[in-house]
């Protein structure tokens, strides 16, 4: 009985603390953030090695940041700003490859990977059900315990841990 009470106390503690966390997160003020900076992070710096224009000190990136800034101030939407740069530099300028066209496969393959993993686990787990526990004779049991003792003597304990 006492055990059960302790267990319930723990559960109540964990749940109420997590409740506080969720309540705090849900009531968090919606911070819009720096839109220009978020856009800059999605655009590739044309003269650097795989960094966005937000991160590059180069002059090209500075000019591009200025263009983003101006368009955001002019009230253009995210898509309009991105399309503006796509028209000038091509798909290459998007650090975040769109889920269509040439980069569609990039989205499908990880999904296939997840699916493959799930199927693999399911197969392993299902196969278990169809296997009866092997019956070992006394002689086989002794063989096993000999083999275990043998392995324990042969390897350092640490190697078997």
């Amino acid at each position: 009985m006492r055990r059960k009470l302790i267990s319930i106390a723990f559960l109540a503690g964990v749940l109420s603390l997590l409740g506080v966390v969720v309540a705090q997160l849900l009531t968090a003020p919606d911070t819009a953030g720096d839109r220009a900076y978020q856009l800059e992070q999605r655009l590739r710096c044309p003269v650097c090695k795989s960094v966005s224009i937000a991160e590059s000190p180069s002059e090209t990136a500075t000019a591009m940041r200025q263009a983003v800034q101006e368009q955001v101030t002019a009230g253009r939407s995210d898509e309009e700003v991105v399309d503006y740069f796509r028209a000038r530099y091509g798909d290459w300028v998007l650090l975040d490859p769109p889920a269509r066209g040439r980069t569609l496969l990039l989205w499908l393959l990880p999904a296939l990977g997840v699916l493959g993993g799930l199927v693999g686990v399911a197969v392993l787990a299902l196969r278990r059900r169809h296997q009866p526990a092997p019956f070992l004779s006394e002689e086989q049991r002794q063989q096993v315990s000999h083999a275990v003792a043998d392995a324990r003597g042969k390897y350092r304990r640490e190697d078997l841990l």
Binding site: V14, Q24, S52, P57, R156, E158
Partner: protein
């Protein structure tokens, strides 16, 4: 004697090539006919290979230190004005020399592996030496052909251009590449043993137990190499971050992920006899991916598909990668049947089940990063179009996978093998969960509203608390001596726990530094000031220093707090003679709680433009990373088995459901 050094280096490489071919020949012959080869012959071949590699490296270093420009490599990468330290590191700061370093480290690993083989009846070991000989032959072959640093220039230049500017302004160049190579090369040992076991149809844990040390050494060095690399990028490149998902970074990260999966699945096989076939696949994949990573880094294929034949090394590495993959998987397909265990059943709610989950997640992670890295190359090769795969893609994939890994890590080490009941898991995890949720509540109440940070803190604290609880519960007594006896007695387990705590610290640092960073860009005139991170920052002056091989321009910025000078930042721009682009070097002020990072964006005659960043908990990232590497090393420094009493294993607790 004018050409003595290039000749000595070349002779060393040839000796290494010959010795590795002989080693391969003797090794395979010994595996087939153990009585026809003596151990001394294998030893001699290994020693000669090591001598050859050492001779090559020695000749290279001597030529660099004595300004011997008759050697092609010295003429291409050295200059008389290069300081001593960077002259020494020049030996691996360009392609050809880095292959020599690879050969030296490989020879070292083989030398250690061969010491364990005392008898040619050890067919697993002799066959593995044969495979190591083949790998070594490939690398010595590279040195003697397409990556030859020892070509003789009949008309040597008076001076050279010196190393790449990025490789001569920070001590890291002396640390990062050797660490990374110690990691990469080490996985050759488990690959060779896996192949050897397949050849002689040797199932069982023998090959895993015997390569455990090499694997842990390699994994620890690779971990440390990655951390040092990130640190280097952060301290030197001045773009304000430590990880850009750059193909060169990914090339080292992908093998790390698969190697991490491997050291975990090896435990499952050793303890429970499962995942036998899977371990062969992982050993093969880890080695293959180190070669692929080297190919991606060392050929210019990433910059443009069409430039990867600029040097012969690119095609040679790609060819070797294909040979390893095709050869290895063919052997596996032919012999896999003989070594795979099909009868063992697996329950998902058990430690081995969570190990399996961890393996799937790590492999999926590696697959996604590999996909994102090579996808643009394939698109360009087949359609001629250029696409980019950058941080937004990788982050979106990496974040959920990392959360899942942290979850598995929180439960896995405390789950029993075979069968875990919910009641037992609750007993073991209720304290840690309470601690984790208390920490998460504290974080949200302190004003941090980022979901990512809160979840990471919750998981990290749960992981650490679970490890601490397990330590207290299973120790022979709770005095420091008792805890120490447990930690130093079960080094494999507690080394792993140390590494897990390191991962938890790294995760917290990444989440907090990412979500709560502040940044600003300011243009200042001399005497002008601004506010940043609670400090008043005043731009004092810009200076120019001329050194033999570089011109250094720096800005002096005073950080005042409450009228007192707290810190002076001196971010720099360095221009090297003979190199067009200037390198921006940031100024970083690290404390335990936060980093202040100052980088010059522009240095005009009378104004400067500066980027200020404030990263909370940044230094925890490096500490956590080194903790991971230390955990790996702790796991391998085991002691001999002591038969006396007192070596009792801690009793597992009874399930609470009773």
């Amino acid at each position: 004697m004018k050409y003595a050094l290039p000749a000595a280096g070349w002779a060393g490489a040839l000796l290494g090539l010959a010795a590795s071919l002989v080693l391969a020949l003797y090794g395979f012959r010994a595996q087939r006919h153990p009585d026809k080869v003596r151990v001394s012959q294998l030893r001699a071949a290994t020693s000669m290979m090591a001598v050859g590699a050492a001779l090559s490296m020695l000749a290279l270093e001597t030529a660099l230190l004595t300004d011997d420009f008759t050697m092609s490599y010295v003429a291409e990468t050295h200059s008389r004005a290069t300081p001593l330290l960077y002259t020494i590191t020049s030996a691996w700061s360009a392609l050809d020399g880095s292959i020599v370093l690879w050969a030296v480290i490989l020879a070292g690993y083989i030398l250690f592996a061969a010491r364990k083989i005392t008898d040619t009846t050890d067919r697993l070991g002799t066959g593995a030496l044969g495979f190591m000989g083949l790998v070594a032959a490939f690398f010595f072959g590279l040195i003697t052909t397409v990556a030859n640093p020892f070509e003789i220039l009949p008309d040597p230049p008076a001076d050279g251009p010196g190393p790449n500017p990025l490789l001569r302004n920070d001590i890291m160049v002396a640390i990062h590449p050797p660490l990374l190579y110690l990691g990469f090369v080490g996985f050759t040992v488990s690959f060779a043993y896996a192949m050897s076991a397949l050849v002689i149809r040797r199932a069982g844990v023998d090959w895993l137990v015997r390569t455990r040390r090499a694997n842990l050494v390699a994994w620890s060095f690779l971990t440390a190499g990655l951390v040092v690399g990130a640190w280097w990028s952060y301290e030197v490149l001045g773009w304000g971050g430590y990880w850009a998902w750059d193909p060169v970074e990914n090339a080292a990260f992908i093998p790390w992920l698969v190697a991490t999966a491997f050291i975990h699945s090896a435990v499952v096989q050793v303890k429970r006899g499962m995942l036998q076939a899977w371990n062969f696949v992982l050993a093969l994949a880890t080695f293959g991916l180190t070669i692929l990573g080297t190919f991606l880094t060392r050929s210019s294929v990433v910059a443009s598909v069409h430039s990867f034949t600029q040097s012969g090394v690119g095609p040679a590495l790609l060819g070797f990668f294909i040979v390893v993959l095709v050869g290895g998987f063919t052997l596996f397909a032919v012999r896999g049947e003989a070594v795979a265990n099909r009868t063992r059943s697996l329950r998902l709610a058990s430690r081995e089940g969570l190990f399996l989950l961890n393996n799937l997640l790590l492999c999926l992670f590696a697959f996604v990063v590999l996909l994102g890295t090579v996808y643009p190359i394939f698109v360009e090769a087949f359609t001629g179009n250029q696409v980019s795969v950058g941080r937004p893609f990788f982050d979106r994939m990496a974040v959920p996978l990392s959360f899942a890994l942290l979850l598995a890590m929180g439960a896995g080490p405390f789950t029993p093998y075979r069968w875990a009941t919910p009641a037992l898991m609750w007993t073991r995890l209720r304290w840690p969960l309470l601690a984790g949720s208390a920490a998460a509540a504290t974080v949200t109440l302190s004003g941090i509203r980022s979901v990512g940070v809160v979840v990471v803190v919750f998981l990290a604290i749960t992981i650490v608390a679970a490890a601490v609880r397990h330590l207290l519960v299973t120790a022979p007594n709770r005095r420091p001596s008792g805890l120490w006896r447990l930690i130093s007695g079960q080094r494999a387990y507690w080394g792993g726990q140390l590494a897990h705590i390191g991962v938890a610290v790294v995760a917290v640092a990444i989440a907090v530094a990412g979500a709560t960073a502040t940044r600003t860009t300011v243009t200042l005139e001399p005497g002008g000031s601004t506010e940043f991170g609670g400090y008043t920052v005043t731009f004092d002056r810009a200076e120019q220093h001329t050194e033999p091989d570089r011109v250094q321009r720096d800005a002096h910025l005073f950080f005042h707090s409450g009228g007192e000078l707290a810190w002076t930042a001196t971010p720099k721009l360095e221009s090297f003679t003979n190199q067009p682009q200037a390198v921006g070097i940031p100024s970083v002020w690290s404390t335990a709680g936060r980093d202040i990072y100052v980088a010059l964006a522009q240095l005009a005659p009378d104004t400067i433009t500066v980027n200020f960043y404030r990263y909370p908990l940044m230094s925890w990232l490096w500490a956590g990373g080194f903790l991971m590497a230390a955990g790996g090393l702790w796991a391998l420094t085991d002691r001999r088995r002591r038969p006396e009493a007192g070596d009792r294993s801690p009793a597992e607790e009874a399930p609470a459901s009773a």
